[in-house]
Symmetry: D3
Subunit: 308 residues, 6 copies
Amino acid sequence: MIEVGQTYDFFGKVNLIDDSTYESYPVNVTTENNETVIVRVKQSKKVELNKIYFFNTKAIEFKDKIHLEASNFTPIEDTDIEDENREKLMKFFYEYAPINIVDIKKDIEVAIGQIKNKVIKDISDKIYQRFQKDFYLYPAASKFHHAYISGLAYHTHSMLRLSEGFMAVYPFLNRDLMVSGIILHDICKIFEFTSYENSEYTIKGKLIGHISMGVNLIHEVAKDLGYEESEEVMLLEHILISHHYYGNFGSPKKPNIAEALMIHFIDNIDSKACVLGEELDLVNKGELTKSMPVLDRERYYKHHLTNE
Amino acid sequence: MIEVGQTYDFFGKVNLIDDSTYESYPVNVTTENNETVIVRVKQSKKVELNKIYFFNTKAIEFKDKIHLEASNFTPIEDTDIEDENREKLMKFFYEYAPINIVDIKKDIEVAIGQIKNKVIKDISDKIYQRFQKDFYLYPAASKFHHAYISGLAYHTHSMLRLSEGFMAVYPFLNRDLMVSGIILHDICKIFEFTSYENSEYTIKGKLIGHISMGVNLIHEVAKDLGYEESEEVMLLEHILISHHYYGNFGSPKKPNIAEALMIHFIDNIDSKACVLGEELDLVNKGELTKSMPVLDRERYYKHHLTNE
Amino acid sequence: MIEVGQTYDFFGKVNLIDDSTYESYPVNVTTENNETVIVRVKQSKKVELNKIYFFNTKAIEFKDKIHLEASNFTPIEDTDIEDENREKLMKFFYEYAPINIVDIKKDIEVAIGQIKNKVIKDISDKIYQRFQKDFYLYPAASKFHHAYISGLAYHTHSMLRLSEGFMAVYPFLNRDLMVSGIILHDICKIFEFTSYENSEYTIKGKLIGHISMGVNLIHEVAKDLGYEESEEVMLLEHILISHHYYGNFGSPKKPNIAEALMIHFIDNIDSKACVLGEELDLVNKGELTKSMPVLDRERYYKHHLTNE
Amino acid sequence: MIEVGQTYDFFGKVNLIDDSTYESYPVNVTTENNETVIVRVKQSKKVELNKIYFFNTKAIEFKDKIHLEASNFTPIEDTDIEDENREKLMKFFYEYAPINIVDIKKDIEVAIGQIKNKVIKDISDKIYQRFQKDFYLYPAASKFHHAYISGLAYHTHSMLRLSEGFMAVYPFLNRDLMVSGIILHDICKIFEFTSYENSEYTIKGKLIGHISMGVNLIHEVAKDLGYEESEEVMLLEHILISHHYYGNFGSPKKPNIAEALMIHFIDNIDSKACVLGEELDLVNKGELTKSMPVLDRERYYKHHLTNE
Amino acid sequence: MIEVGQTYDFFGKVNLIDDSTYESYPVNVTTENNETVIVRVKQSKKVELNKIYFFNTKAIEFKDKIHLEASNFTPIEDTDIEDENREKLMKFFYEYAPINIVDIKKDIEVAIGQIKNKVIKDISDKIYQRFQKDFYLYPAASKFHHAYISGLAYHTHSMLRLSEGFMAVYPFLNRDLMVSGIILHDICKIFEFTSYENSEYTIKGKLIGHISMGVNLIHEVAKDLGYEESEEVMLLEHILISHHYYGNFGSPKKPNIAEALMIHFIDNIDSKACVLGEELDLVNKGELTKSMPVLDRERYYKHHLTNE
Amino acid sequence: MIEVGQTYDFFGKVNLIDDSTYESYPVNVTTENNETVIVRVKQSKKVELNKIYFFNTKAIEFKDKIHLEASNFTPIEDTDIEDENREKLMKFFYEYAPINIVDIKKDIEVAIGQIKNKVIKDISDKIYQRFQKDFYLYPAASKFHHAYISGLAYHTHSMLRLSEGFMAVYPFLNRDLMVSGIILHDICKIFEFTSYENSEYTIKGKLIGHISMGVNLIHEVAKDLGYEESEEVMLLEHILISHHYYGNFGSPKKPNIAEALMIHFIDNIDSKACVLGEELDLVNKGELTKSMPVLDRERYYKHHLTNE
């Protein structure tokens, strides 16, 4: 029960923005309590569709209806809410990776912390620090796989886990290159999409792409740190360049170091296994999934065996 | 020093077989002590080129030279020598997988032992029991990868190890199908080659191939055990049929269950990583390997980083 | 005119099955006289959609309407109706190959009878005897070509006819392999579809496929007859394996004997010529057919020339 | 025994032509009796390497040796020798199709004679009459298949035989188009090679090719006969244009009439079956042929079964 | 204001043709003044949909309405209207190339006039004279590029302009072959479409195609002029044959002379650049065009830079 | 005639370097007068094979022979010789582009000078200034096309010339992007090869490639100049990224702006036309060139027509 004159502060997601000739315009908002309210925003201020804000409002009467007049609103990324709560809100409002970001973040930071090679460590650290907020928000793709909030971090984390087995069986793989390569390989996806909630391609994403943007980023950071001529920089750039393997998937070079090859394999497997697992969850035993584009449009059979 | 009249019993590999009009013919043999001797074999008995035998001989004088007259000879597979010693001899005489067969055998048998599903367990057991001797002798391919004695077991073992990580990250994978599928996927390679020492293709290998022979084998064993109509049999057959993924690599069906897809990935990765590791071992840091057919004829760079 | 109390026995095809809370449920049936009647079937018994049954019924009054109460019903395959009559009924109720099954059957049995090689003859006979009923009912494909009742037998028969010319021109072809290979090449299509009336793929059809099932079948029959090690069995299996030629059409091996190559050609030609003939029949001279998927989506021109 | 002053008239093939400063130059010739003689030819006249001539000669003494001075010599195509004898000589001197040209010619002329459609008959007749001498001499290809004297006629004849079965099974095929299309499809191969004995490509063969030359030829003859606008001409041209089916095999259009499709199949089959039969003849039962380029570089197995 | 009894003469395009049982039938016509009128045409005469005619009419009253009775009508191609006016009318009634035909015609005739080689000049002249009316009317394709009235001439003209630069940079190109090859390369497109206003494929277009028809045309004209055996004819035919480069785009031969290669490049570039320019015109700076089939379905970005 | 005690200063190219235990080692040098001399170099100094130096020497007697003892030597790039003379020397010692570098340089600098857009001008200028020495020395490829000294500048210059015609016919092309894109598109080839005289690939060339290095270079220079966020930088980077068009030729993105597409066409044409022109020069009229890898291994015919 909203009462006129009372203040109401809450997180809410913008569903619809209407025009108005009044000095404020009405915005349809879903609140964190799953209620739908009309918030009035001053003409001089802009909210964006599909985004979550923390709204400070006061209930007013407006043409026989009760509206909430916003005195202030802040995008969720700019509030100082705790990670755990933010994740809870994100999961409520958006399609979200089926993971616990707090745990994943811990794992990823441990992995970076264990890099021994100074060049690789410094570059990885600097890039991670600069972009970590977006890194935990963006999807890994606009469709096909991990196409939801935090998909990028989820995908990166699965790849790190999978890489453990590879490093155990193939001792010729360098651990630092594997870890850093996995963390950086898709990081410029955050520039490929217009925003994390709305994964449309930017012009720069279309014309340059995350692979070349990633190489530019490593080149620039290496230059700042004075590592421009080191072999490590060349190797990291090579891993980024070659991780799609095939030219017609966007890699201008095929892998030519063992780590690049293995990161390609792991990336490819996780992008497919993730989708496969999700689709198998949607059908009953004895049935076929729907046709999956990332798996050559094949339908997979869910058999009756279990691990119990 | 060989003395006429003395008996000499030893393992040796046949290098050359000469014709003779005498009642015995001379055979050039390398002994387990790395000596080259001439063994005379009765016309009525046949030795085969390239094979290892246990020879019982007596030194005789023959046309002014000392030859060893064979009273008996037994192929090494038919002697009751211990596994460890046999392996030592094999490694001495042949190009051999860089592994310890005793350890690998233990691991593989543990894996079979842990299969819980009765149908899968019975079929896997029966096939393994029937062919285990050859399973530990044959190569995995005539060239390209694991193309040496025991290559098949070495490859199978690496795949089992690698599959552990996959099962940890992707809980929808059924452990029994994974283990049995890996062990059986290439087992009919033992019929594709004329012998383990001499990996030429048989006519049956060329006309039918290990994939269809493998399906026939599972079908036959399942029928004997009364499991013909079970889903498990269909799934195992499907794993064999689809493990090369692409039709032009010999798979009449693409994978349509999760385990088949993952076994394909693991098989593909190990066949490439094994070659890559071996070729990197042959070059110095800062150099390129030679062009590798299994890796799209690419040459790989051996960088200067290490895990120390 | 149906009269209450009279009995009516007839063949009919099930069009629609309704639920009911009574002890019998109503089934919409088209009779062999092309009338639509309501048959009531006891809850304890199941009829299947789309199938033809011989119904023994008595007319009753049910809620002011006249229904036919079924005392008994038998699937047409299990009645002892003569071939000729069954064919007439099938052609009435279903889309059906444009052939006379009685004649075709005679030709096919003559061909099997003329096989001289004992191994090939025994295997062909045994498989034919076991599956002949379905062999004359199933389609050859679920779409694309010969996709109607008896399509498999029609296709097989055309291939046998076409093969005569090949054997005349190319004397190196073995007649027994050609005949047996043609008859067996697609026989496991009867397991690829859920039923002859309803050509949906079974899970086994999707995961294993008629090629590998066919090889398993020959392997199993050869084993039963003690022919397992004969060259003939290997050759027949090879013909099945390779008859699609290309891996991406499901053949794990390319043809490597002359007969396999020729059966591939004949199979391919008949699957296309049959569709082409049917589509040309549907258009006027001077027109183009519709685009045909089996013919690279091309449209063919029907010219004005005739053989008169 | 050649005697000076005697005349010697004989067929012979030129093996070697030497320079000379005398008024005649020496030519090394193999005679129809398989002797090697030196024929002296006047400087003003030219013989060509590899060709057969009828030589009129007289034995002379030349620098202590006996040479045969040619008073006259005539290319075998210009002598009025009977077909049968010419064929015997050709077979003696060249690699030659394994056929009897007299019989084949009879068959081909019967086929042309049975064409009923006047347009097709007139065009076929006129082209056949104009080029029949070369038609029976040229090979069908410079390598790959039918690459020997009379290969073109041999190939055409086999295609006509094979087409009989097709026309029996598929009644929608027009017999006149089939016969004429087969006879004309490769006829301009006679312009693709520099001569029948020496199958090198002409510049025109390389730049225009037998397909476009064939279309030009039909166009030109049709124009001469006043048939330019008839459907028959368009259909014959279309058959020529499309008989290789695929653009990358030289066909600018895919078949779009039934007869064109079937002629493509028959052409393709005969070009492969002919090579396959010849290679199988060269190996023993139980062996593999050598790898054959026209058969995707596959080796074929010669099994032990026969038609006896 | 149309008055009964008055005569009205005008150009008009036929939009709709109705049946009638009267002795004349009503035709819906758009006039050159953009009015819609009903013209009545005698049953014995036929107008064609979509075509432009010059109508001589008299206004009559017909069942209470005013219709225009046609005493005569002439297709625009058969009137002796001046080029400039005809073009104005065509542009009014049809989608039309964005060019001035008068200028283009002048340029093309100058180019033909400058050909020095007599064989090439005579052939080009004769073909141009014979078909020039249609040459300036037909489109260059039925869709994809230059798919509007006069598209063929527009495309040819752009190619001539572009070729200038090529000839300047690569002096090994023969100017006469370039000019004639460009003018003739697509000329038989006029036979590929049923009419210039209505670019549907003719049967001959589908079965033979403009490439083979073009070769036939050159062959025929060369024969008439006695140039049949000249190298020039072979070269021109080769340019036509090879100008699509790839077999699967309709060229039975790849280019094998420099001019053929360059004409292929120029043809390919202009067919793409024309579409690209037209699509860029349709969007604003900062936007993407729609996906273009001739450009691998890519969307292009219109940037903000200009040449001012 | 070399006299002991005299000094000799000259340019020479190192052909062979021998070991020696003396304090100087002997080097086989070809001088600018085409004489072969032995120059002795101090052990502490290194000359490189295949390079040109300016040698300051004095003739000495060494073990009964006359050697030239080097007091000093300078690589030709570090001498202050005039462009024209350096070019003359280069052409004498190396395989060299068939051009006049002085003229080409003038043209290229004029083109850069005419760039109007400040961002594009500043970036182009800065890169050109930094690398111009190497730009005029390196080849454009290690084989295939322009594979000789100055090949890169030659290729760039031809592309600029060819682009003029494109800009005239297609007014939607931006002149500044065209010029700058052409000059920069291959500039990082100077890092792909170990040296200009010896076009072997560097590891960085193999692992990163000139395309990604080029993008990095533009990114870095743009950053230094403060242009990082401008559209122009994105467009230039896109041109570099996409100029090979196809992924399997090294382009991670297809062209998506008109200028990128046209630069791709021009690059492709010049790389082929250059080779074609060179090969046509090597054969007589009426002959075929050798098979050319850049032209799909085709052989081209040199016809008899000329432009005179």
